[in-house]
């Protein structure tokens, strides 16, 4: 992909992010931070590429280290978000 296509995706995604995040209810701002944390660990994609590649031993180990860190975030982030969201309950109708 050329730079302009990538930049276009980036700019559009910033706008999508802007509108989607403003529509998040303030009551869920803490889960929002936890889940954004989890998804920003999609950086694991880069870590996996490095961890899988041949050619440089140091690079491979750096990649594997990054896989460990990102995995903490992915599993931890989604799990803690799930735990929080499960707590939000509506008033019981009697």
């Amino acid at each position: 992909m050329d730079f302009i296509s990538i930049l276009s995706i980036f700019v559009m995604a910033c706008f999508v992010g802007y509108y989607v995040v403003w529509s998040v209810t303030p009551a869920l701002h803490t889960p929002l931070m936890a889940v954004t944390n989890a998804i920003s660990s999609v950086i694991v994609v880069g870590a996996l590429v490095a961890g899988a590649a041949e050619g440089s031993v140091i690079s491979k180990w750096l990649g594997l280290g990054a896989v460990v860190l990102a995995s903490v975030n992915i599993f931890g982030g989604f799990a803690v978000t799930e735990r929080m969201l499960a707590m939000y309950k509506k008033k019981e109708k009697k």
Partner: protein, 471 residues
């Protein structure tokens, strides 16, 4: 020559992952759809990881599986065990991991550029990739060291008071310019020392930027670091030409930026003044009040409070960080239940900056089983204080201080506050009359005719009120 190209199906898969992440955030527009949103996020992440492994990693699958198991296990156990009051620390710690992971990925790409498809067979990295890589490592490193400091401050390992270095603005600005200059130089010379110095300076600046920021500004700092972690992911996405990373980075970056903006607005502070730091430098405990005239105030007992609230029609509860510190959310919900049994209409009012991160109070109340439709935001409930019989303030202070509306010289002037002075009776739970809020200003609410000060530990006081209500 070996040139990595991503097959079209993989590009579509990354795009799908990006869309699923958008839907994950979209789900958070209401608690009812939020859990489905989280599942979309999990599916998106799975797609992104499986796609990467399928196109790259099958050769070293055992090592990678081991790395995922170690990290994932650690993350999962932490997520299960963490106390809800400690969420701000956890989020700060998670931010630091994203930052460090970005640095490691950046360095790995630098050391093995051919594997990332960003260099010719001679190992010369493309100029554009060098800029992206340099910026990605810099933002990642700032996120890492900044988040570590934020974590230490939130966790109480380090004083929440701002630490002010002399000439820090000059040092910070100089360091930032040096980093940008080196990223520019990196396009000309891909020597290891350049990337090493960029990394080191970025770690240093992250540290320097956060140490002067005080405890009360932590909601802004945590949001800001959230934003940085997104931009770091986006920069790596540019390096790797990966749509999932770019979309996610943009989402997370804007999310953190918007939350920082909301937090600043809720404190009527400019982003620049928060970054410049120093707020909350005034000593928290009173003692400077010697010169002040001692004004009369009324002390109430748990029995008085219970009696008045039983007779009330509308009670609005305003929780603040003090409630979290005292772990009083569960007994507070019991109090709400007891009052509802007496036919009292109970509502909770939450200020945007209550707690140490955006939405922190909402989570704590949800944990204590307070239904979310009884919890209201500042602008939705502020008109109701005139009809309220009791405003019950527990662990909050600055967010109910009328000086924010009237006193131009007050450090919190202009901050939107709850109009508790309009309520018929105000009950204020506080440890003692000595302490003042984070902003270090006196509060006129203490001395109003209709105010009853309930001086005790928040949890103890609410327990006593509950005992009196149960009679």
């Amino acid at each position: 020559m070996e040139h990595i190209t991503t097959p079209p199906w993989a590009m579509l898969a990354y795009l799908a992952a990006g869309v699923l992440f958008i839907m994950a955030l979209r789900g958070l527009s209401s608690p009812a759809t939020s859990r489905a949103g989280n599942r979309y996020g999990i599916v998106g992440m799975t797609i992104a990881m499986v796609t990467t492994l399928a196109t790259h990693g099958l050769a070293s699958l055992p090592e990678i599986a081991g790395a995922i198991a170690v990290g994932g296990g650690l993350g999962f156990v932490t997520a299960r065990k963490i106390k809800m009051t400690d969420m701000p620390q956890l989020v700060a710690a998670f931010h630091s991991l994203v930052g460090l992971a970005a640095v490691l990925v950046g360095l790995a790409a630098y050391l093995n550029p051919i594997a990332f498809g960003i260099a010719g067979p001679d190992g010369v990295i493309e100029v554009q990739s060098r800029i992206e890589m340099g910026l990605g490592i810099a933002i990642g490193a700032i996120t890492f060291s900044g988040s570590v400091i934020a974590f230490l401050k939130l966790n109480g390992n380090m004083s929440g008071a701002p630490i002010m270095l002399p000439g820090r603005h000059a040092i910070n600005l100089g360091t930032l310019l040096a980093i940008l200059g080196l990223v520019g130089y990196f396009t000309q010379d891909q020597a290891p020392w350049v990337i090493a110095v960029i990394t080191a300076l970025s770690f240093a600046i992250g540290f320097l930027l956060i140490i002067p920021i005080g405890g009360a500004d932590m909601p802004v700092v945590v949001s800001m670091l959230n934003s940085y972690s997104g931009w770091a992911a986006a920069a790596m996405g540019f390096t790797l030409h990966n749509t999932a990373m770019i979309i996610t980075g943009a989402l997370v970056g804007s999310s953190g930026a918007i939350l920082s903006y909301i937090m600043c607005k809720a404190m009527n502070r400019s982003f620049i003044s928060v970054i410049a730091g120093g707020f909350g430098a005034a000593p928290e405990a009173g003692g400077g009040g010697a010169a002040k005239v001692q004004r009369p105030w009324k002390r109430g007992s748990a029995e008085d409070a219970a009696f008045l609230m039983k007779e009330a029609e509308n009670v609005i509860i305003i929780p603040g960080y003090g409630m979290a510190v005292a772990q009083a959310q569960h007994v507070l919900r019991e109090m709400g239940d007891l009052l509802k049994k007496e036919g009292v209409n109970v509502k909770y009012a939450i200020h945007p900056v209550a707690g140490r991160m955006p939405g922190h109070m909402n989570v704590l109340l949800a944990e204590a089983n307070v239904p979310y439709d009884e919890v209201f935001e500042l602008e939705d409930i502020n008109g109701e204080f005139a009809q309220a019989d009791v405003a019950f303030i527990i662990g909050a202070n600055d967010v109910v201080n009328p000086a924010a509306k009237t006193d131009k010289s007050s450090p919190i002037y202009g901050m939107p506050v709850f109009d508790v002075d309009k309520a018929k009776t105000v009950m204020f739970i506080k440890r003692s009359m000595g302490g003042v809020g984070y902003a270090g200003v006196d509060n006129d609410v203490f001395y109003m005719d209709q105010t009853m000060m309930l001086l005790a530990d928040a949890k103890k006081m609410v327990e006593d009120i509950n005992k009196a209500l149960a009679h």
